[in-house]
């Protein structure tokens, strides 16, 4: 108790300096937490994927479609519960800046394979019975102020022309990790138009999503499917939904790696700030350490005092930083929702931030401790400020 009292008293000797140090640490811990949250946000899509879902796409690359005729053949394969399909539409809402995910889905089966999109039964029914109907995510509707029954026009990029839709449903996610910014409409709508304007592009789907009975058989079923279409004009590649999502996340691999480096550097900044404060304090207190040694305190007592003070400051900085992180993550999450539909602070981020503060607390005390412990009493007493 007594030692703790000395430590606290020591931190209060330069109130401004201690306060600034805690502030600097808090800002840096917050920045660290934010960057880690960005990194986890990239992976949100993959984390949210279901283990019992597989995705089949064209083996050449995602830009090549697969024939609709594959659906029946895939359905016949043993172990598959349900098959649905979707096509990336890539339409633009007024301006390319208003980017959001929009794709055409099989209206009869899609939401059965993806039960994490929660849609009121009457809305789903209304969606299913109308060709131009669309279901949008809650966050997307909020972003543009859309309401049920609104008419929305998208400009086609992959599918030429202007396309009209009517909002017949707004879904919410089953849990916070579900993307609530998607725009999903009838695949039949684009297919009918293609049949009239560009017949070779009719009857094509972007990818199949399949639900299987037993997630443990994912690898085996994937192989069966791909073997079935081997040497055909459109060979397939089947993988788990998670692997499929990861292949998109990988596109930002370089940026994620960069962010990891930056999050490491920020720990460096925290360390420098705290180390500076600790070195300054220790320097000023050199004669005191000599007195303490003279009256019989051992080097480990001094170590305790210095490390304790460092940890004390780091602890407060870390706590305040985490507080700030939670405070700013909401508005930042809203601001970046275009890039990151799901932006939540993960428990692991909190843990890492706390750990970083702790390590910095210890590391910053190393040099002053070393010096104080090694110092000869006479030299210490001789120091004049």
């Amino acid at each position: 108790m007594f030692v703790l009292k000395i430590i606290i008293r020591n931190t209060l000797r330069h109130k401004l300096r201690t306060a600034l140090t805690i502030l600097g640490l808090a800002l840096a811990v917050m920045a660290f937490g934010l960057i880690r949250t960005f990194i986890t946000a990239w992976y949100a899509g993959a984390e949210a994927s279901a283990p019992d879902r597989l995705v089949t796409r064209n083996a050449v690359s995602i830009i090549f479609p697969l024939p609709l005729a594959y659906k029946e053949q895939i359905e016949k394969i043993e172990g598959i519960k349900q098959v649905t399909y979707a096509t990336w539409f890539g339409g633009i809402y007024i301006d390319p800046q208003n980017f959001f995910a929009n794709f055409a889905v099989d209206h009869n089966t899609f939401f059965r394979v993806f039960p994490e999109y929660i849609i009121p039964a009457d809305q789903l029914e209304a969606f299913e019975s109308e060709r131009k109907a669309v279901i949008v995510g809650r966050k997307l509707a909020d972003r543009f102020g859309w309401k049920m029954g609104d008419q929305i026009a998208l400009i086609g990029t992959i599918f030429p022309g202007d396309w009209d839709f009517i909002i017949r449903g707004i879904y919410v996610g089953r849990d916070p990790s579900v993307d609530e910014t998607a725009f999903m409409f009838h695949w039949d709508y684009i297919d009918e138009t293609m049949r009239q304007t560009m017949p070779p592009r009719a009857g094509q789907v972007g990818w199949y999503a399949l639900r299987i009975n037993n997630p443990d058989r994912a690898a085996e079923i994937s192989e069966t499917i791909d073997a079935r279409f081997d040497n055909s004009l459109a060979e397939t590649l089947t993988e788990t939904e998670k692997a499929f999502q990861l292949s998109f996340i990988q596109m930002a691999g370089t940026i994620i790696a960069g962010l990891q480096v930056v999050s490491g550097l920020i720990i460096g900044v925290i360390l420098l700030v705290l180390a500076n404060t600790m070195a300054m304090s220790a320097r000023e207190r050199t004669p005191e350490y000599a007195y303490l040694k003279t009256v019989g305190f051992r080097p480990f007592h001094l170590t305790g005092l210095i490390v304790g003070e460092s940890l004390f400051i780091a602890g407060w900085g870390g706590l305040l930083g985490l507080g700030l992180l939670f405070a700013v993550s909401k508005p930042i999450g809203v601001a970046v929702s275009v890039f990151f539909p799901v932006f939540n602070i993960q428990p692991v981020t909190v843990l890492l931030s706390a750990l970083a503060a702790l390590l910095v607390g210890i590391a910053a005390a190393l040099f002053p401790t070393f010096r104080a412990a090694r110092m000869r009493i006479v030299d210490g007493l001789r120091v004049v400020e």
């Binding site: 600097g24 690359s61 030429p160 940026i255 420098l272 500076n276 400020e385």
Partner: protein, 387 residues
């Protein structure tokens, strides 16, 4: 006026504190500069890809060649236009091309990434003088042969000279390697368009590129063709077309980089503040002495601000030196506008050096201001009495 050497020598009297503060600022400036170098490297590469007097034709609203489709008859109409320059053989200098993405595994870790395959004709090379064959030979018409851009050849399995790569249900032999400087073409595979069309079962073009006789003709040609109801097309100067492809990524890097730099700099500013407050506290007596010798309050303020700026400037220079070494690093990433892999270098520009140093000086000024004000406000008698 108090001489500058007074500020400088004070910094040297507390080496550890000064060094720690300089390092903190250097880290921040490093990150700040690195983020801008990344974005400028990407832009530079894409801008260099386009040639000044080339024009790209894609379908209206399709944004990139990837989503663009040109019917054969539409292409023929454009190809007959009088503004198109003539090649060495007297025929129009125009290339009808097909542009697709294929998944290929990387040599390094087997991870797959999207690589551009461009079906080209004999004019494609002539249109892009920066593309030069550096090994092997050109593909031969009618054969499943391709030539590979240098950075694809280095990074992807099966793309080296003499190797084979499988796509479109065929094996393609890499018969040549081309070098295209720091351009997007360096990250592409090129082969005979007729072979590509049948392999991918795509009987349509993605884009059309031609050399225009005179750039002054561009605007009138653009408005004439774009208003032709038979042609749902869009004409862009090749330079503009490629420059636009850096938009999504560089705006993302820009926003992210700015947010990170600002938050980061707050940490360093606080660090500088702590150092400067300590400097003021340690030298209270000195300040009293200077004041009693007749130096004005303003003079004291300026001296401490100067000291802080010297620290931050030193940090800025150190950070820039470190960032400069990033120029040696080649980055390869998927460009979000085109969905395909592109290789480029961090690139430093005078503009980046300039902004980084300004950024450093601002950090020094902000961090040093309050401590300097405190120093200038000390009362002579009290400060002389300080122990």
């Amino acid at each position: 006026m108090i001489p500058i050497s007074y500020s400088v020598r004070n910094l040297f009297s507390r080496k550890i504190t000064t060094a720690l503060t300089v390092l903190g600022i250097a880290l921040v400036v490093f990150v700040f500069a690195a983020e801008m170098m990344l974005s400028s490297g990407l832009k530079k590469t894409l801008v260099a890809t386009g040639s000044d007097d080339n024009v790209v034709v894609i379908r209206k609203a399709s944004q990139t060649e990837l989503t663009s489709i040109l019917q054969r008859d539409q292409a023929e109409v454009v190809a007959a236009e009088p503004e198109i320059a003539q090649g060495t053989d007297g025929s129009p200098l125009l290339a009808k091309e097909i542009y697709v993405l294929i998944n290929l595994p990387k040599r390094k870790n087997d991870e797959t990434s999207n690589v551009v395959v461009r079906g080209v004709n004999a004019k494609s090379m002539e249109l892009r003088p920066q593309v030069k064959l550096i090994a092997g030979r050109m593909w031969q018409a009618g054969l499943s042969e391709i030539i590979a851009g240098k950075s694809v050849a280095e990074r992807f399995k099966g793309c080296g000279l003499g190797e084979t790569v499988r796509f479109g249900a065929r094996d393609w032999t890499v018969v040549g390697i081309f070098e295209a400087g720091a351009t997007a073409f360096n990250s592409e595979l090129w082969g005979d368009i007729d072979q590509m069309m049948s392999a991918f079962d795509r009987p349509v073009y993605s884009s059309l590129t031609f050399r225009i006789k005179d750039l002054a003709l561009f605007e009138s040609m653009k408005s004439r063709l774009e208003s032709d109801p038979r042609l749902p097309l869009e004409l862009k100067r090749e330079k503009t077309y490629y420059a636009e492809q850096s938009r999504a990524m560089s705006s993302f890097i820009g926003i992210m980089g700015t947010v990170i730099s600002i938050v980061f700099s707050l940490g360093a500013i606080v660090g500088a503040m702590i150092t400067m407050y300590a400097a003021v506290a340690n030298r209270t007596k000195e300040i009293g002495t200077l004041r009693s010798l007749g130096f004005s309050r303003f003079s004291i303020l300026r001296t401490f601000l100067l000291e802080s700026v010297i620290i931050s400037l030193a940090g800025g220079i150190l950070g820039l030196i470190a960032a400069n070494f990033l120029g040696l690093v080649q980055v390869s990433t998927t460009n979000w506008d085109t969905f395909s892999e592109i290789a480029f270098n961090f690139s430093i520009t005078p503009q980046i050096i300039y902004s980084s140093l300004i950024f450093a000086i601002i950090m020094g000024l902000v961090g040093g201001f309050l401590p300097a004000v405190r120093a200038s406000r000390l009362k002579i008698v009290e400060s002389l009495r300080a122990v």
